[in-house]
Symmetry: C2
Subunit: 131 residues, 2 copies
């Protein structure tokens, strides 16, 4: 990550653009392997806790409550870094994930859930001849 | 990714759980480096195109139209694999990204947009003593 334009936590909380339900999607990535572990949702308070407490807190849309990964499972998500995207409406959190990120017991929520897609290949031609 | 339970495209389209606006968040990851490039939104038709055409198609919530990364910029996203998460309400697409994924010109939409967070460290104790 390029660190040229880092924000303080307060600036990040002000900048964050929540949706009409007051929520922001947060992509959780293992910091060293790059593995995408899961996507969760945060309201402003969950975001504040995540940025200030060193562990990831989500807002559960189904249970309508805060939850902190690992409080019941022991599989904590320890925050290494965080960034908002160009529209400030998505958060990327790099974490150190203890054990499984998924409640089903798989390491990531996407494991074993692949779809047989048609793949694409970048053209060999220069980029300006792509289309 | 564990491929034990791969779905066909039709099964994936049936399984996908869209939100009340008919949309699903799609995390776009560079397949070889693991870099999280961006998050976009797909309706059922954008998902169908992404799974069958070898390039990523999104639904633009602001412009209310389909857009395919690279059609105007040349910076195409070529699909390598895709998976739904455990709730089938988030898609992870691994791609080969030509050039910049972000419309601002940065490689990823999160580049240079870090927040100075409090970091956390996993306990040295066994996992069952975490909390």
């Amino acid at each position: 990550m390029n660190d040229q334009a880092r924000s303080s936590v307060d600036a990040g909380l002000t900048l964050a653009a929540f949706n009409s339900d007051g929520l922001l999607p947060a992509v959780i990535q293992q910091w060293d392997t790059g593995e995408v572990l899961m996507l969760g949702w945060m309201d402003r308070e969950a975001l504040r806790r995540t940025l200030t407490e060193g562990r990831v807190t989500f807002w559960s849309r189904s249970r309508q409550e805060y939850w902190r990964k690992g409080d019941t499972s022991g599989h904590g998500q320890y925050v290494k870094s965080a960034a908002l995207d160009c529209d400030a409406d998505t958060l990327l959190v790099r974490v150190d994930q203890v054990g499984s990120a998924c409640h089903t017991g798989t390491r990531a929520c996407f494991d074993g859930r692949g779809i047989d897609v048609a793949t694409g290949t970048r053209p060999a031609a220069p980029a300006d001849a792509v289309n």
